[in-house]
């Protein structure tokens, strides 16, 4: 069993969960993920690691409450326990001295891009962090990101902070940086990472995206997380989660993520009031 140390809604519907996992923490590298189960009958879901504390032996994940398991995780309180935290899984994000790197995060990715930016900064890169949200009240960890970035830029869909629009604005940001951007690294929902890759392709800037397909074991055994890169199939849990965003077959990824769309809401309907399920479904649809 794993102790819950901290559990907060940090901005509407985004939750931060800090767990005690002293055996996992020393091995964590930026870009890796853990698989969690919220309870004994629960499913296994992958979540990116957003930060960790070696001394305390704790790790933090940030997630949006969109379904059964995230709902259960969001309801946890300090002092409670969950049965499974396993990891760190996946291959770490490639970190070198690339020159100038754009670290783009949206949603939970604002959190998970943080350790990547930190590691890049430590190696002497010029780090430009770009975070994106619907509105300014949905940003978090701005101070943390500022500390590890040469510049922190914002994009909001309603124009309440920074650039107005979506990650489609990245080319303008890249132009404004003043020097050549050597690499773009994007963490966040499928739509965000896809659109980012779309707009950097014509600019011919290597763009690394962290993908979150459905997973079960997370150790390369079941193969549900397969992703097409051109003609080859890769398994996100052991070959990823990072891939070259210009090679990913996005249409297939989107289809595969929807595989259990109908089933995902069933336990909600059977275990909670229907309004709640509908609300969550509606949120889910908004995200699509």
């Amino acid at each position: 069993m794993f102790n819950v140390i901290e559990s907060n809604m940090i901005v509407p519907n985004l939750h931060l969960l800090t767990l005690e996992a002293p055996e996992i923490v020393p091995e964590i590298q930026p870009g890796q993920f853990v698989i969690l189960r919220a309870e004994q009958d629960g499913e296994r879901i992958p979540l990116s690691i957003s930060d960790w504390d070696l001394e305390a032996g704790t790790l933090s994940v940030i997630f949006m409450n969109v379904g059964v398991t995230t709902g259960k995780l969001a309801a946890l309180k300090p002092g409670m326990q969950i049965p499974t935290v396993v990891g760190p899984l996946g291959i770490k994000t490639e970190i070198e001295n690339f020159g100038t790197v754009l670290c783009v995060g949206g949603c939970y990715g604002i959190g998970s891009i943080f350790p990547i930016a930190r590691a890049l900064k430590e190696l002497g890169n010029r780090v430009i962090s770009v975070i994106e949200a619907r509105s300014n009240y949905l940003f978090y960890w701005e101070d943390k990101l500022k500390q590890v970035s040469d510049q922190l830029l914002y994009i909001t869909r309603d124009g309440t902070k920074g650039y107005k629009g979506h990650v489609r604005r990245l080319p303008q940001i890249i132009q404004s940086v003043g020097s050549k951007v050597d690499r773009v690294i994007v963490n966040g929902c499928s739509l965000l990472v896809k659109l980012s890759s779309d707009v950097t392709r014509p600019l011919e800037i290597k763009t690394i995206v962290s993908l979150a397909p459905i997973m079960i074991d997370g150790t390369g055994m079941c193969g549900v997380c397969r992703v097409s890169l051109g003609e080859t199939t890769r398994f996100a849990c052991v070959h990823g989660p990072d891939f070259d965003g210009h090679e990913v077959n996005w249409e297939e990824l989107a289809q595969r993520r929807k595989m259990y769309f109908n089933e995902e809401s069933v336990p909600l309907q059977t275990s909670r009031c229907e309004e709640h399920a509908e609300k969550i479904l509606a949120e889910h649809l908004n995200l699509e």
Partner: protein, 468 residues
């Protein structure tokens, strides 16, 4: 024997009662029901108690077969259990899933007469009898040696190594990546063939013997083999199956195309059949094709039926004769109504507008000359393409060994399939103090072969620990 009056050979091998096909395809309960006591005794009495039994050398874990059968024949079930468990820690498992017809029973003298003693059924009988007798007997344990062994993987190979070494006085810790122990016994083999309560019972027994168990621990990720070597005197790697194989044909990433590992893991480990009481969903597809002809393919096909499929088809490129599944499993699938398409090769999967598989294009084959495996090679029949409608496909053509440990252990030699290289006689790998066995060495094989490899490695580890 020669002094005794010649007993007339009893050539009536006792059948084991089974759930009727029309009933069992509606439930997830075990299909064979086990011998009643009187039947078990009658079957056990048929054993000739050969002085030089030919069954024993064919058993990968060297069970004293006539010894435990004698216990049954003489109504001394507790005695029989003792003999059985001396060599086999997982008798309730092996009695169910071992291919006895290819092993021990093939050596039985009565096999020549067409009626080998039903060794597997008797093994199962004793193990199940023991389970009804309350707490299992804990054997006398030797003094602790103070040596520590790490076992990577809680499947059949790892469980065997752990059981053998704990009984020799070593400290043993099993590291299991999943949240439950048992490996393929838990995630792969379905409830109707191996009830999970049985696996749990066998694992509990190991814990009672003093084996320490750490689940949710991925060696290679949570800690490397190198790091474990600083704390443990020896390491056994039995990390099992890895990436599932697909056929590399168009459409394999469509929704509704599963690897057998995924389909079975959803079903067994995650209890998809109890959704939504358990949170992991599994789809109740109406028309399901299973590609492959092994035991895993049979498990997938029979699982699909139980989930309510109207039609389940096995698609296999050779004929029934070449099919690697156990005869018993093929028969069970046939009785339950699985349709077998022999000499058929899938060419591509065709999707609908939402990315779900809707059809399979197949090609008919015929048998040509024997290939390297000695089986007749299937050869395509030109222009025999045809399309069948299908709303799910399970690809059960095997998997490569798990890559996590080979990838994270410098100096560990691997073969061309990514399998860890281990000496057949000892299980030793290229790294000092590291042994390996089971599917991660052999590629996908059987439970009992993994257990056999575990036994060999345990012996070698013990020799090493007691000589150093």
């Amino acid at each position: 024997m020669s002094d005794q009056p010649k007993k007339k050979l009893d050539l009536s091998r006792r059948d084991m009662p089974k759930q009727a096909p029309e009933v069992r395809r509606q439930n997830f309960d075990e299909v064979p029901l086990g011998y009643p006591e009187a039947t078990a005794i009658a079957e056990a009495v048929r054993c000739l108690q050969c002085k030089k039994p030919l069954c024993v050398p064919l058993c990968p874990v060297e069970i004293d077969i006539p010894g435990f059968i004698k216990g049954i024949a003489e109504n001394d079930f507790a005695g029989g259990v003792r003999v059985l468990k001396d060599k086999n820690l997982l008798p309730a498992v092996c009695g169910r899933v071992c291919p006895q017809e290819e092993q021990c029973e093939k050596g039985c003298i009565l096999h020549k007469k067409g009626a080998p003693v039903a060794i597997g059924r008797l093994e199962r009988f004793l193990a199940d009898w023991e389970a009804t007798q309350g707490e299992p007997e804990i054997p006398a344990m030797p003094a602790k040696t103070g040596k520590k062994v790490a076992v990577v993987g809680g499947g059949p190979a790892g469980l065997t190594v752990a059981g053998d070494l704990i009984k020799l006085g070593h400290d043993v810790t099993i590291f299991e990546a999943l949240h439950e122990m048992g490996g393929v016994l838990i995630y792969g083999i379905p409830e109707f063939r191996l009830p999970k309560a049985i696996v749990k019972r066998e694992v509990d027994y190991l814990q009672k013997l003093g084996v320490e168990i750490k689940t949710d621990f991925v060696v290679g990720k949570t800690r490397t083999v190198e790091s474990l070597l600083k704390e443990y005197d020896a390491i056994f790697v039995g990390s099992g199956a890895g990436l599932p194989w697909f056929m590399q044909i168009p459409g394999e990433n469509l929704n509704g195309v599963y690897s057998a590992n995924e389909y079975l893991t959803r079903m067994n480990l995650m209890k998809g059949y109890l959704f939504p009481q358990f949170d992991t969903p599994i789809k109740n597809h109406q028309r399901v094709a299973v590609i492959g002809g092994g035991n895993v393919a049979m498990d997938c096909a029979r699982t699909a039926l139980r989930l309510g499929a109207e039609e389940v088809q096995i698609i296999y490129r050779r004929s029934r004769q070449e099919m690697p599944a156990r005869e018993e499993e093929i028969e069970n699938a046939e009785e339950e109504g699985v349709i077998f398409n022999y000499l058929t090769l899938p060419l591509r999967y065709i999707g609908d507008e939402n990315g779900w598989v809707k059809q399979i294009e197949c090609l008919k084959m015929e048998l040509g000359e024997p290939d390297a495996s000695g089986r007749r090679r299937p050869v395509p029949i030109e222009n025999s393409n045809y399309i069948i409608p299908m709303d799910a496909v399970v690809c059960a053509i095997g998997n490569s060994p798990n890559p996590l440990i080979p990838e994270t252990t410098p100096g560990l030699e691997v073969g061309k399939w990514g399998n860890i290289k281990a000496d057949e006689q000892t299980g030793k790998t290229s790294l000092d103090r590291v042994w390996a066995g089971g599917d991660v060495v052999s590629g996908a094989a059987t439970v009992i072969l993994a257990m056999g490899a575990g036994r060999i490695a345990a012996r070698s580890i013990h020799e090493y620990l007691t000589s150093s």
